[in-house]
Amino acid sequence: MKNVDLMKVIKKRRSIRDYKDEKISEESIKTLLEAARWAPSGSNIQAWRIYVVRGEKLESIKKFSPGLLSDPPVIFVLCADIEEAQKKGGKLSKDVLTKMDIAIAAQNICLQAASMDLGTCYIGSFNKKATEEILELPDNHVPELILTLGKPEKVPDPPKKKSLDELTRWVE
């Protein structure tokens, strides 16, 4: 893969909030999960757990997720295994690094999905307690992020981005 190809995918990715009423194949979902599996993690602890949610359970979670306004056929609920994080990486891993690792794994999913013409959207506005209840999560799995997945019905224009000058400082 050339550098330019990856940059193309990065710039192509959008937050999709309007999906077609079409199923996503298990093969595609597994490809996205494989992309997440190859994400880096602090001390290689890999303390994330991903729940693939469809059907009735998805509809129930949606009712308690104000940020989930679309109708995706699939969502990923990305959880931190706080027991493993604490055991192998201590407080820093449990409180900070595992959350970062989850975000990196999520971005791997989003970019892989964009390369397959699939849409995704990060959802931070969801109720953790309700999600834990509906998915019957064990106490050590804490939901941190939801990703929606589906075939885009509408792809929004690129949003305004800050310039590199605003975002970066070069120091020698």
Binding site: R17, K63, F64, P66, G67, S125, N127, K160
Partner: protein, 102 residues
């Protein structure tokens, strides 16, 4: 016991209560502008309930369309989002005037 109704039958506003309670909890920690967004979304869902129960009309359909078309501007254009809120209030005020005139 308040009523003799079937407790297992989902009341028409149950889903809305789920959404509103989760929104209330979320808004404690979320950006200020998400408050108006959640209220607009609630209006849209109330129109859904009206439609599901054959209680809607052209005015409510137009109101819902207006909300749907503009709510996401909150993500990238605050000025346009506030303008759309003003438009919605204006639309309702006009309707209120119509009620008075009738």
């Amino acid at each position: 016991m308040m009523s003799g109704g079937n407790d297992n039958k989902k009341p028409i506003f149950f889903d809305l209560f789920c959404y509103m309670s989760s929104s209330a909890r979320g808004l404690v920690d979320e950006p200020k502008l998400y408050g108006p967004l959640r209220l607009l979304e609630t209006m849209e869902r109330i129109v859904d309930v009206l439609e599901d129960n054959d209680m809607s009309n052209e005015f409510y359909s137009e109101l819902k369309k207006n909300i749907k078309e503009n709510k996401y501007t909150v993500m990238h254009d605050e000025e346009k989002f506030v303008e759309s809120l003003d438009e919605i209030v204006k639309m309702l005020a006009k309707k209120e005037k119509d009620f008075l005139d009738d």
